[in-house]
């Protein structure tokens, strides 16, 4: 009895920690739900595809399912078809191709398109975040700007910004700017809002007592900013960055739609929808999901490292 009492609660729980983690954690429920979704998906393949001519003459339920899972242009492809296509179009295809100009990225490889989209995403993200932070700093420090600009920034969130994507592409294209930059402009336009809103909140989060403390130290405006406001804004900055990077990816993909861009995830979606290549659409979608997850994971990693360096405890 006494030996148990001397143990800290953490030590006492140690032998059961793995089991407890499984029971209370999210892993088992998430895996279960994912399995259920996949099962429903496989089952739905037959009803969704039943009107296709390839299935008209197939008899027997097992045979019909087997046929429904391996159609060439299904209404709903089976998950393994998407993974096969994803594999074939990334690892199964040569990434570099020899042309007269030397080695270029092979447009048949999905990774080429992913790279086109992600470079626009990152360029737009960097522009947007820089702009967003600069705006927030200006808004926090200039009173007239806060009164006049802030309501417009908030109101502009209720406007469907993605709808102006085609205009930006066409307008910039008419003055000879094509390729990566117009898409990056759309991404930047989308991604600066969350950063501005988050940073204004973050930079104004130090309360009156902390600001008074800085005043008793006789700190200048710059010092107050560098030593108090900026560090205090970090948690909110990273929360905004996560929203920004995913919305930036959406911006880049939508930016590839209106002019029928030749490359990028959005172009794959559009060409797949024109030619009825459903498996191609789905594999482009899965690629977009992987990109989004990777980008958010990168931000989360940067957040953990920064907050750790600043001495935050988990």
């Amino acid at each position: 009895m006494s030996s148990v009492a001397l143990q800290t609660p953490r030590e006492a729980a140690a032998p059961h920690r793995v089991w407890d983690g499984l029971r209370r954690g999210a892993l088992v429920p998430v895996l279960t739900l994912t399995a259920i979704i996949l099962a429903v998906w496989y089952l739905a393949c037959l009803p969704m595809n039943r009107d296709l001519p390839q299935l008209a003459r197939v008899e027997g339920l097992a045979n019909r399912y087997e046929a429904a899972w391996s159609l060439e242009r299904p209404v709903l492809p089976a998950p393994h078809q998407i993974i096969t296509e994803l594999y074939a179009s990334t690892i199964g295809t040569r990434l570099l191709r020899e042309t007269a100009d030397g080695l270029v990225l092979n447009p048949r490889n999905l990774l080429t398109h992913a790279w086109v989209t992600i470079s626009a995403t990152l360029a737009g993200f960097v522009i947007g975040v820089t702009l967003g932070i600069a705006l927030a700093v200006a808004i926090v420090h200039v009173n007239a700007l806060r009164r006049s600009l802030m309501p417009w920034i908030v109101a502009s969130q209720s406007i469907p910004i993605l709808a102006i994507a085609p205009i930006i592409i066409v307008a910039l294209g008419s003055v000879g700017i094509v390729g990566l930059l117009p898409k990056a402009v759309i991404s930047a336009y989308l991604s600066f809002f969350p950063v501005t809103i988050g940073m204004v909140k973050g930079l104004t989060s130090p309360d009156a007592m902390l600001l008074d403390l800085m005043r008793t130290y006789n700190a200048s405006g710059t010092q107050t900013f560098v030593k108090l406001r900026w560090p205090a804004a970090m948690p909110l900055l990273f929360a905004s960055l996560k929203v920004s990077i995913s919305i930036s990816l959406v911006g880049a993909i939508v930016g590839e739609l209106p002019t029928g861009a030749q490359a990028g995830i959005g172009a794959r979606l559009l060409s797949g929808s024109y030619y009825g290549q459903t498996v191609q659409i789905w594999s482009a979608l899965v690629m977009a999901a992987i990109l989004a997850a990777l980008l958010v994971a990168l931000i989360t990693l940067a957040e953990k490292l920064t907050l750790k360096a600043m001495g935050a405890r988990p």
Partner: protein, 325 residues
């Protein structure tokens, strides 16, 4: 009016406010007239800069609000941003007309407005197709479905632990990409757009509603328990009201998502009307004034939708600290 004349010390900022506002308006009118008559760029630009400087000065005085009569100070919350917005539109107009910016690059606001009023019937039909038929029902169905699933999550902890990580993950995905698939499944008409909006609005509502249903305090819940209240009674009388700020947050996020979803889904195929269809075809024909007119309609609809939700939220969550001034 008597407040303006009240004391000598208060008269000065009011006078300079009125002075700079009047000077700004005068400069602006002069710049606009000269620009539309075709006067050369530098003169118009100088006048425009003067007007802009006056407007900025007015805003600085007004937002500092020291020594101004209380009526003007109260007005500042509306007037300062309004003046700022008007200045932006004015600069846009003068730069476009004065420097003869090509219409393809950026049409002047006056051109956009005249096109807007000239093609109201077309724009009205587009609005009905995209907003009334696709965005609004999709928003309702998606939000309601998200809320119902959140209620199911509330009953089953297993479901909640499984669904919330999946919901958070899906919120980060470029979900708009499934638009071509939905167009393939539900056809070219508004059904596929409404489906797109349903998918886009489902997860924000689910995640917010689950957080909202957990928002009621332990003490209040124990109180309901001691009253012997059933799950439904606790829900209706305590937890749903406590969840309202979260629900409205989701409804507001979904309001802008709904319009975006409906418009972008139309880029993948529509019958010959709808805001997304109008934008993509008119861009192809290089008539950018029509595109901008459509966007003005979309912006007004989006802002009105959002504003209506804000008003409703103030009525419903009158008890919340952010609404008690």
């Amino acid at each position: 009016m008597s407040a303006i004349m009240s004391s000598p010390s208060e008269r000065k900022p009011t006078l300079s406010l009125a002075g700079s506002l009047a000077a700004g308006v005068a400069f602006a009118i002069l710049a606009l007239m000269l620009a539309h008559r075709g006067t050369s760029g530098p003169i118009v630009m100088t006048l425009a800069l003067a007007a802009w400087a006056c407007a900025w000065f007015t805003n600085v005085i007004w937002s500092r609000a020291q020594g101004l009569p209380p009526m003007l100070t109260r007005l500042a919350a509306v007037a300062v941003p309004l003046l700022f917005g008007l200045t932006l539109v004015f600069l846009w107009e003068v730069i476009c007309v004065g420097l003869k910016v090509p219409t393809v690059l950026l049409p002047a606001p006056s051109l956009i407005l005249s096109r807007l009023f000239a093609s109201l019937p077309v724009l009205g039909a587009d609005f009905v197709q995209t907003f009334v038929r696709a965005a609004l029902p999709g928003w309702l169905i998606g939000s309601a479905a998200g809320f119902l699933v959140a209620l199911a999550c509330d009953r089953s902890d297993f479901l909640r632990r499984g669904l919330i990580p999946i919901g958070n993950f899906i919120s980060a995905l470029p979900i708009i990409g499934i638009a071509p698939i939905l167009v393939m499944w539900f056809g070219f008409d508004w059904h596929s757009k409404a489906a797109m909006v349903v998918v886009m609005t489902f997860f924000p509502m689910l995640v917010n509603a689950v957080a909202g249903l957990a928002a009621a305090g332990r003490l209040e819940r124990d109180l309901m328990h001691s009253y012997g209240a059933s799950w439904l009674q606790t829900l209706m009388k305590l937890r749903l009201p406590a969840a309202m700020p979260f629900l409205f947050n989701a409804l507001k996020i979904n309001a802008s998502l709904a319009l975006i979803g409906a418009i972008v889904a139309e880029f993948f195929g529509t019958p010959t009307l709808g805001m997304g269809f109008r934008i993509s075809t008119e861009v192809g024909r290089m008539s950018l004034d029509m595109v901008w007119a459509t966007i003005v309609i979309a912006a007004i609809a989006g802002s009105a939708f959002f504003g209506a939700l804000v008003l409703l939220e103030k009525r419903v969550t009158f008890w919340h600290p952010s609404n008690r001034g």
